[in-house]
Amino acid sequence: MLADDAVLFREGLARILADAGFTVTGQAGDGNTLLDLIRADPPDVAVIDLRMPPGYAAEGIETAAAIRARAPAVGLMLLSQYVEVHHALRLINEFDGGVGYLLKDRVSDLAAFGTDLRRVGRGDTVIDSDLVARLVARRRERDPLDNLTDRERAVLALMAQGLSNVAVAADLHLAVKTVEAHVTAIFTKLGLIQHEREHRRVLAVLTFLRA
């Protein structure tokens, strides 16, 4: 199900998602309409524009919160022209997984976007790579990231995007055991507590990168 006040974008997205084998069960131009549609027929995932009428602020997050309260099984994918760190932290904090936050640009790579939609539908967390890159590149005094090897930095960035160890291994063409060793090393070097669940892990890593 899709919600965006930009009709051309929304209909274009519906078309390419249908081409890619998704079933688009409904479309809305604002949050309240989407909520009504979801109450009537909850989808696997709702794709929601962050900035919608009436205020063109962050209505999408409020809509997402209302959906989660009423239909907790629906995955929530938020799209935006800008990705902001504080929105990402809020989404991870308030939604216990099953949530994504991507630049709108990402929909033009349908294979990757489709994968991300399915991950959100499964309950994973998906965070835009641009946002993570910005945080990893952030200049710090006495930068703790200086202690990481290049490979560990790459693993850290993928973890922060919400990838599991298995997915990180596939992305970097490494064995899962190797990735697990890297993850342990990263958490030790940064003084972070390891979490079993990816969602908690994303939160820990992003909070650390932001601090």
Binding site: A6, L8, F9, G12, L13, R15, I16, D19, A20, R51, Y56, A57, A58, Q81, Y82, E84, V85, H86, K104, D105, V107, S108, D109, L110, A111, R134, L135, R138, R139, R140, E141
Partner: protein, 207 residues
Amino acid sequence: MLELRATAQRLVAAGDATRRRMERDLHDGVQQRLVTVAMELGGVVRQATAAGATDVATEADTVRAHLLEATAELREMARGLHPAVLTQDGLEAAAGFLADRSPVPVRLTVAVERRLPAEIEATAYFVVSECLTNAAKHAAATLITVEIRQSEAGLTVEVADDGCGGAAKRPGGGLQGLADRLAVLDARLRIDSASNGTRLRTVIPCG
């Protein structure tokens, strides 16, 4: 004099409103269109791949990448006009964004309890933005401290660096522009710049 100040304040407010509106128009108009076109191009890539036209698919994907680069540039321009994050989420979030992107490490403290009038928030934002840029570009600083505090006297904005100094108001320069903008809000820009660092400070009355 009072009348002149009121006129100047209206001019600044009108300028800000125009920039906000332009950002909105870019966001809802051109940016949205470009992203939609990129998405359609993505569809072409897919079709070409499915039809076995690998060359066409590769070429279309390159075009898509170029288009997304242009979109990213436009996004930065829109942000420079007026950051949506400032309007939506306030000074702390907007200053945090500036600090995240600074090529010089920033120690940021924001103590602002409530939302302030748009022209005050925008002015404080532009002060921080300009000072961070100067510290990185001209002062070869290794650390910048930014403090934004709200008190009874008003909103204090202070940016200090450990660079080589040399900051001054010059006709047509960024700091002169800031000082002019601040004067309209009844605030002065104090500049202390020496070979061991620069400190810029202003207190904007908040009524």
